[in-house]
Symmetry: C2
Subunit: 340 residues, 2 copies
């Protein structure tokens, strides 16, 4: 496996080191190449994602990313120039985000019940395209627009991916989340497309919810969800609510997937670079290890993925939350469990 | 007080009746005129909001709305043709949504702490303008767009309203919620505008959060919020999360306000017409009564508003949740408390 690794900034390198430790334990054939990208490089050289680096990344089977960013970088620079550029250039149209409440993990909900959802967020369209602009900047007549672009091609492929995941799960249930009553143009395209694809998956039951109602149900009744399919921006928001009710961003893993297999997919924890705790060796690498699990699963290494996920599940169910382990200790424990 | 009343569909008329009962108790000078608008009228006549009705509504001091809609009406018809049309025609640029965890109300959170926030959602811009369209409908090449429109004029006035509310509250704290790292055009306008208005309110401390992070904090740490100012769509979503953690949509009140006073403002519970329980006399009218409180407060009837809110707070702290009262019983109790 040729793996490109982008450790990034802040706690990124710390959690990635543990992710690689666990990965090495179950997949001895990993050839990892590290790439220096992120806030630090941008400050040093002004570079975000040079074309040569992008070309090299394309030659890998997958990418593992830690986190990029530091508080001094203006909003949008790293996001548009690096993170989103990777997603768009590598056609990561499926942004995959499981949210599972593991045994032993405390939810902020008083009665969380069983939570085990898989959010399939579209990754290359919607309000994330950068379309829009500004007129009469810095005057009282300024107008700023953001254009959400949605195509039949783009919606159909992510809907199909979501149905394929749903049909392979025990509950075979899929919920479309949108705001069809207000965003009527895009909403109609999403509704019609999901309905069409649904016809090919008669075993899957389909529900629809407006994003506002869904965000409420994620808190009051998260057990009702199985697979979710939604637009890029709605997915950004609801997956953070899902992460919150399943124990927080320290456990939230994600995959940025080109389901066609043309480009390498990229796996990363949902959390950021957390500069406030960087360098102290106390960041929790679990979300990165779960992202490694998604990576292995995506590459068809089902048994290796199973080992990684089982290690995390066992570790979480036996963790002493009063005595948090250090980053490397968690990694050691997960590596031993996954390898043993 | 000349009050226009739009009871609407489903439980709308039931909860509005109780709202008027309580209102009558504290404000004996109410002259209420009922308007028949909503799903039922649309089915019967095809009319949503005739110009003559809109003109009549303009002649009132305020509007009280129950809820509109029934499951058979296609998505968008009543929203675009009635609810949003009212907001746009009457320039309801402030969508005011308090979220307070009352004593005696159970939150789904295990340790909610003190929650008392006031969300100021923009009401006439953003992705709600209806801008956008569709190309090559029903073909594999369909493209659907939604355009979020944001103006200096629109953002400045809602930011100013939010700061005015913040400075009048004990904590004097304001949080801007947006997604400036991705929606860079609109995000920049929002950030710069809030910064400019903030200069006029040096007593108010200001924070910023991305909408995804905020949606998580609404669940993990809602106590940190005081006043929130945000865009129309983000406000739609986060206020439902706020409602969820403060005991649900049965208690969520809202005001659609023209802060200039040119047009009548409109007050409504956030919940919908709930056709599943309509006609049974079991809907909880509390959100409507709290909306009446917002209405009185908006009209400068501070003492009357205080009586209504105090009645609700007392009632909630002494409710027997095992023995829910019927709609009219809750109204009777609140009317007696507010009047006595
Ligand atoms: C950093 C940002 C561009 C990104 C997003 O909005 O997608 C992040 O919030 C995420 O969810 O991965
Ligand atoms: C019904 C719908 C148009 C409305 C909105 O999106 O604003 C509702 O969700 C609300 O929050 O009042």
């Amino acid at each position: 496996m040729r793996l490109a690794v982008i450790p990034g900034d802040g706690i990124g390198p710390e959690v990635v080191a543990e992710g690689l430790k666990v990965l090495g334990e179950v997949a001895p054939d990993v050839e990892a190449t590290h790439y220096d990208l992120g806030a630090a490089r941008w400050r040093r050289t002004g570079e975000l994602l040079p074309d040569t680096v992008l070309d090299e990344l394309r030659g890998h089977d997958a990418i593992l990313l830690g986190a990029v960013g530091d508080p001094g970088v203006p909003a949008g620079i790293l996001e548009r120039g690096l993170l989103l550029k990777l997603r768009f250039e590598l056609d990561h149209h499926v942004n995959l985000r499981p949210a599972k409440l593991y045994d032993g993990v405390e939810s902020p909900l008083a009665a969380p019940g069983t939570i085990d959802m898989l959010c399939v967020r579209e990754g290359t369209e919607g309000p994330y395209t950068g379309n829009g602009g500004v007129l009469r900047r810095d005057t009282p007549h300024e107008v700023a627009t953001e254009v959400s672009v949605n195509t039949a091609f783009g919606v159909e492929r992510v809907a199909r991916y979501a149905f394929e995941r749903a049909v392979a799960r025990p509950r075979k249930h899929l919920t479309l989340i949108h705001k069809t009553n207000v965003l009527t143009h895009a909403g109609s395209l999403w509704s019609r497309t999901v309905e069409e694809v649904a016809a090919e998956f008669p075993e899957v039951t389909v529900a629809y919810q407006h994003v506002d109602a869904a965000s409420m149900f994620f808190v009051t009744d998260p057990s009702r969800y199985d697979v979710i399919v939604t637009d890029n921006l709605f997915g950004d928001i609801v997956t953070d609510v899902a992460a919150a009710v399943t124990g927080g961003i320290g456990l939230a893993a994600s995959g940025n997937i080109d389901a066609s297999g043309t480009h390498p997919s990229m796996f990363e924890p949902v959390h950021g670079s957390a500069p406030d705790i960087a360098g102290q060796g106390i960041a929790d690498p679990t979300a990165t290890v779960l992202s490694v699990g998604l990576l292995l699963d995506h590459l068809g290494r089902t048994e290796q993925a199973r080992k990684v996920n089982a290690a995390v599940a066992f570790d979480l169910s036996t963790r002493d939350t009063a005595q948090p382990l250090r980053t490397a200790e968690v990694g050691d424990r997960l590596a031993a469990l996954a390898g043993g």
